[in-house]
């Protein structure tokens, strides 16, 4: 009976229009009343896997949760800027709680489910490193192995995604050797830097990273992600080799998915939702479908995580967290090599080119929001600008160093160049991209210890030079070691989505659509992948 009901509600959600008619027969409430039951929820992108359970939540509580997804820091920033939402539901609120303006907006917070951020590593590699069935592996051991070049891993960008953030914070705490909350002076930059030399894959979201790992599993030995995500990967069909989960003995950071009340007028609805989310029914179904652990002690767990997982303390000061994030971007991670292939054809004239300029200049330091600060061009980064129309010259190179003053001078020049962009002429999308790719591949041969990527922004159809088919053929003929520099096309205006999608799929990149969200936020989001 219960199952039948639940199923109906799923169907209600899916066949919205059809069900509306049927319900009209028994319910006197006009359609407008339905909106009263809708709550806007700022949700971490990790919660997409809860979507199938939303109809059940609605059936049990009468409340329709409308989830608006975003990255963890981005969500914090939205709360900070006063964005009108009823609730927020994130993988973690630890960063949020350190920012006074955000903390004061959070009227109540209840955790809903648990999963730690851990290392998943190929079984053969785990055996080779004596980590198989070894509960004594520590972050120190992992860092040592990474430093000695014995294994490589994938991790998301700490400024964009909670797994990267938790992984970095956990690692920093563990390597500091302290048994309590981290202070700035405890950050062991040398060890951390050595560890991140072994990183081969980065991404702006945990889900995308898991997919990218599946595609590139021959090139990388392990992945830092949620235990639940890793367990799901093991259950799926995409892995050539099972992942062994390493729960480092010196400590982990657990995501606890707090749901938070923001709008005081919705407290009753919030209480209802919380009661259901923490109740046995939701907890059981959530545990089964997502493999996260329940917070309700009456629900049994199947997942056999070690029961004495040591949880690392989270810093109590924003300055400490910001120092770690900043150190990561500018000193610890592998440096970035990023090429921006920018359409300045005639159709970009007016608002479009101005939008593009604002987005680029935002990355140069003009954007002082939280997400802006952590998506700036980084120390040691190599930036290339390749503006194109029907013709294009050589990409202009900007070298960021370690020194703040000379970096500022470099960025000033970059801003001048960006401001000088003039829309004019035709569109040679693939020819320009080809040249950018060729240059990047050559640089990568000479200096492989960097993350290479190409951002392509265009608003139109390709009219000049080679076409997509020719690009694909050219790419396929490249030597294996020159393939795999990720291209991130940004759809703008009348750009051809199919062709650009092919381009990103070919190279393992990702397409972003500026018709769906602002170019400025897309550029910031892309930084998580660079």
């Amino acid at each position: 009976m219960k199952n039948i009901m639940v199923g109906c509600v799923i169907a209600l959600g899916m066949l919205l229009a059809g069900c509306d008619n049927q319900e009209g027969g028994v319910s006197a409430s006009p359609p407008a009343a339905r909106a009263d039951n809708e709550l806007m929820v700022l949700a971490g992108s990790e919660l997409k896997d809860i979507a199938p359970l939303l109809p059940k939540i609605e059936a049990a509580t009468g409340i329709h949760l409308r989830l608006e997804y975003s990255g963890t820091l981005e969500a914090v920033e939205k709360l900070q800027s006063g964005e009108a939402v009823d609730m927020a539901w994130l993988a973690s609120n630890r960063y949020a709680m350190l920012i006074p303006e955000v903390k004061s907006r959070i009227l109540a917070s209840e955790r809903t489910m648990l999963t730690p951020v851990v290392l998943g590593i190929k079984e053969s590699k785990a055996r080779e490193l004596h980590w198989l069935n070894n509960p004594k592996v520590t972050w120190k051991n992992i860092a040592d192995a990474a430093e000695q070049g014995k294994f490589t891993f994938a991790m998301t960008s700490p400024a964009s995604s909670n797994t990267g953030f938790s992984g970095l914070l956990g690692l920093a705490a563990a390597l500091s050797g302290k048994g309590d909350a981290l202070e700035e002076q405890d950050i062991d930059a040398r060890r951390l830097g050595a560890f991140f030399k072994a990183q081969r894959l980065t991404a702006g979201s945990s889900g995308w990273l898991a997919d990218a790992y599946l595609k590139e599993q021959d090139k990388v030995d392990g992945i830092i992600n949620y235990a639940s995500t890793l367990l799901l990967m093991n259950q799926g069909v995409g892995l050539k080799e099972k992942l062994v989960l390493i729960y480092p003995q010196d400590g982990i950071v657990t995501a606890d998915y707090p749901i938070m009340l923001v709008n005081p007028a919705k407290r009753d609805a919030y209480n209802k939702v919380v009661a259901y989310l923490r109740g046995v029914e939701f907890q059981q179904q959530m545990a089964q479908s997502t493999l996260r652990r329940p917070v309700n002690p009456d629900v049994q767990v199947a997942d056999a995580a070690p029961n004495t997982l040591v949880e690392l303390s989270f810093p109590a000061k924003l300055a400490v967290v910001d120092a770690i994030l900043t150190a990561f971007d500018h000193h610890l991670r592998l440096p970035t090599d990023s090429t921006f292939v920018l359409d300045q054809s005639g159709s970009m004239a007016g608002g479009r080119i101005e939008t593009l300029k604002t987005a680029m200049i935002g990355l140069s330091g003009a954007d002082t929001t939280i997400s802006g600060r952590f998506s700036r061009f980084r120390n040691r980064e190599r930036i290339f600008l390749l503006p194109f129309s029907n013709e294009f010259g050589n990409a202009e190179r900007f070298d960021m160093g370690e020194d703040a003053r000379s970096n500022q001078a470099t960025l000033n020049t970059l801003v001048t160049r960006v401001n000088a962009l003039r829309a004019n002429g035709g569109t040679a999308i693939f020819a320009a991209t080809q040249q950018a790719y060729l240059d990047a591949a050559q640089r990568r041969r000479a200096d492989p210890a960097r993350f290479y990527s190409i951002v392509l922004l265009t608003d139109g159809q390709n009219h000049d030079g080679i076409n997509m088919g020719q690009f694909a053929a050219w790419y396929a003929a490249l030597p294996k070691e020159d393939q795999g520099i990720k291209i991130f096309p940004v759809l703008f205006g009348e750009a051809n989505p199919d062709e650009l999608r092919q381009l990103s799929e070919l190279t393992g990149g990702r397409t972003f659509d500026s018709r769906k969200s602002a170019l400025k936020s897309i550029f910031k989001e892309i930084r998580g992948y660079q």
Binding site: M1, N3, I4, M5, V6, G7, C8, I10, A11, L12, M14, L15, C19, Q22, E23, G25, V26, S27, D49, P52, A59, R94, M97, L98, A108, R111, L114, G177, K178, G179, D180, A181, L182, G207, A210, D211, L232, M233, Q235, G236, V237, G238, Q249, D250, G251, T254, S289, R293, V295, P297, N307, T308, L309, V310, E311, S313, F314, P315, A316, K317
Partner: protein
């Protein structure tokens, strides 16, 4: 992940058959709601802010029913006890914080003539059976008549202050982690239970004297601050650390400062008490009093009722609280097969409100 995508739609299509049934059910539910609304007409609705630890008490059907027969329907919001006084109080009838200091602050703010102490509970430290031998060996814990007492609180605090880690303790094979030995608590700025921890620690470090002058505060402040600062980010209300304890276990929370009532309530609701969990009673300890501070006449009536109604007093005991009559508490323990000392001999008073605030404000500065 791939698999889920395929299964989702398939399942929902199969189950779509049930539409008619669910419509019927929701119709029935609507009728029930109407019935409830009608009887509620003669009842006044009150709104109050309460410490998180009392949320389940107010959600208990027996409590709701008893309050209803007395003419009250009570809506509560969880707020850190020490935070209530700083909130906008308009539209609320009462505050029900944990702890006399929070109640005094609130009383001063709203200028309430009278406040209503209802029930109380001692401060305790929740820990784990596997840690007991280690703590006994260190001379910190001693069992007397079925109760584990922290007989040397000073030593426990000193280990915290000196950065001793669990792995440093001799013969500790049960929990050889690098974690520092720290009692976890809530945010001392927001929550009563942390303030009570501070009150207790200040007494111990002040050679078993209640702190009563500025010089003593200045002398012991660095030590007391480190007990909180080293914990890192803390939760604003006492339900948080206790949830760390119950859901994340010994790895997150080996020692947690909680109310005895939280522990007893949790255990009493299990089909069988979790025997891995052990409650430690500091010697001395202090009581947290739960005091209703009324803002309106209805709030005052509710306070009076909660403090004097025998049935509500007995229901509070069902949630592990101690009341003026110890019979309620004793019966509750017996029925639920739980163990706790009926009388606690060694109980101290918290420092004066001003002294406690002085310490808290000084600690707060260190968090900036």
């Amino acid at each position: 992940m791939e698999i889920k995508r395929i299964i989702g739609p398939a399942v929902s299509i199969i189950l779509a058959i049930g539409i008619g049934v669910a419509v019927m059910v929701s119709h029935e539910r609507k009728a029930n709601d109407e019935a409830v609304k009608n009887t509620a007409a003669s009842v006044v609705t009150l709104k109050g802010m309460i410490g998180s630890e009392k949320e389940s008490l107010f959600a208990d059907a027996r409590v709701i029913e008893r309050l209803r027969t007395q003419g009250f329907r009570v809506e509560v919001e969880k707020v850190g006890s020490r935070e209530i006084a700083s909130r906008e109080l308009k539209g609320y009838d009462f505050g029900f914080p944990a702890g006399a200091p929070a109640a005094i602050a609130l009383q001063n703010k709203v200028k309430a003539k009278q406040v209503y102490p209802t029930f109380f509970t001692p401060m305790t430290i929740a820990s784990w059976r596997l840690l007991i031998p280690v703590l006994e060996k260190e001379g910190v814990v001693k069992k007397e008549a079925d109760t584990y007492y922290i007989v040397n609180m000073k030593r426990l605090l000193e280990m915290s202050a000196n950065g001793v880690r669990w792995q440093d303790l001799a013969g500790n094979t049960a929990y050889p982690t690098r974690k520092s030995i720290l009692v976890s608590s809530t945010d001392v700025r927001k929550s009563n239970s942390a303030a009570m921890y501070l009150a207790l620690a200040s007494y111990v470090v002040n050679d078993n004297n209640v702190m009563d002058d500025k010089a003593q505060v200045t002398q012991h402040l660095p030590f007391l601050t480190s007990l909180f600062l080293r914990q890192g980010l803390q939760e604003s209300s006492s339900a948080g650390p206790f949830e760390d304890y119950t859901t994340m276990g010994v790895g997150k929370a080996p020692l947690v400062m909680i109310y005895e009532s939280q522990f007893l309530e949790y255990q009493s609701k299990r089909a069988k008490p979790n025997m891995d969990m052990v409650l430690l009673y500091p010697q001395p300890t202090l009581y947290t009093k739960h005091i209703v501070v009324p803002f309106t006449e209805n709030g005052r009536k509710l306070g009076e009722l909660l403090a004097t109604d025998p049935e509500l007093q007995n229901l509070a005991a069902q949630y592990g609280y101690r009341t003026t009559s110890s019979d309620n508490f004793a019966t509750f323990l017996k029925e639920k097969h739980l163990q706790a000392p009926i009388t606690i001999v060694d109980v101290i008073d918290p420092p004066s409100y001003e002294m406690l605030e002085r310490m808290i404000q000084a600690i707060e500065l260190q968090f900036q």
